[in-house]
């Protein structure tokens, strides 16, 4: 089975990247792949709980996408450093997102990943 990493480097709104990347992750899960989403850099903002873009800017919530990815068995990870740099606390994050240190993510990327797509 293909082990796919979808790396998100943009914040959730203002660019299409995050929505598009999570959509690829969801579709890949539906096609039977092992999928891990990793929030890197400003992508860390996507891990915040309580997003409500539908009310203000009328776009789909990336929080809903993350919940769907987790429900389908996908893994969602945020770089600890990216969270710390931006002052994002664990209690502010969507439940189910794992926080990993860089060496653990390097292990994942180098030992347990076949393909990487960056958004």
């Amino acid at each position: 089975m293909v082990n796919l990493v979808v790396e998100i480097t943009h914040p959730p709104y203002g660019h299409e990247n995050t929505f598009a990347g999570l959509y690829v992750a969801l579709t890949s899960l539906a096609k039977g792949m092992n999928v891990t989403v990793i929030f890197h850099g400003d992508g860390a903002y996507t891990s915040l709980r309580g997003q409500s873009p539908e009310k203000k800017i009328n776009v789909l919530s990336t929080e809903r996408q993350i919940e769907d990815i987790l429900a389908l068995g996908g893994r969602v990870i945020a770089y600890r450093d990216a969270l710390v740099h931006r002052g994002i606390l664990k209690e502010e994050m969507i439940e189910g997102i794992e926080i990993l240190d860089s060496p653990e993510i390097y292990d994942l990327m180098l030992e347990n990943t076949d393909k990487v797509i960056v958004f």
Binding site: L4, E16, N17, A20, T27, S28, K31, I117
Partner: protein, 135 residues
């Protein structure tokens, strides 16, 4: 002709044809890969679907539409996201099973407007994947 023994390269283009250099770079890499015997599959996603627009006439840049057509003639399989294409006004009807694409008079023949599932198939089947314009 694509045969099973060829190495398979999948490419995603996420940015438009001229605002950044990604499309130009992507086409050159794809051409080089084809010349080296790779089977090349390209997926246009997000603003990358604008690379499929008919009638591009850039004055100072390489014509990306023409380049994609040349790559297709060389054997590349090129598809674009139907959802992204629909959002940007390219899709003009329901999926045509016979033509294996969504109809569009605005897109070049070399590019088939298709579902995102076709990109997922490219990811699953390829030996290598490269992304352009995603960051």
């Amino acid at each position: 002709m694509v045969t099973d023994d060829k190495k398979k390269l999948a490419i995603m283009l996420f940015s438009g044809p001229y605002g950044k250099q990604d499309a130009d770079y992507m086409c050159r890499i794809a051409e080089s890969a084809l010349n080296r015997g790779y089977a090349v599959k390209i997926f246009l996603y997000g603003d990358g679907v604008h690379a499929q627009m008919n009638g591009q006439t850039p004055k100072s840049f390489l014509n990306i539409g023409d380049y994609l057509s040349e790559l297709a003639d060389m054997g590349a399989e090129i598809k674009s996201c139907s959802r992204c294409s629909g959002a940007r006004g390219y899709v003009e009807g329901e999926f045509d099973e016979g033509l294996d694409r969504y109809p569009s008079s605005k897109a070049i023949d070399a590019v088939k407007i298709h579902t995102l599932y076709s990109f997922i198939d490219m990811i699953k089947d390829c030996d290598k994947i490269m992304t352009f314009g995603g960051v």
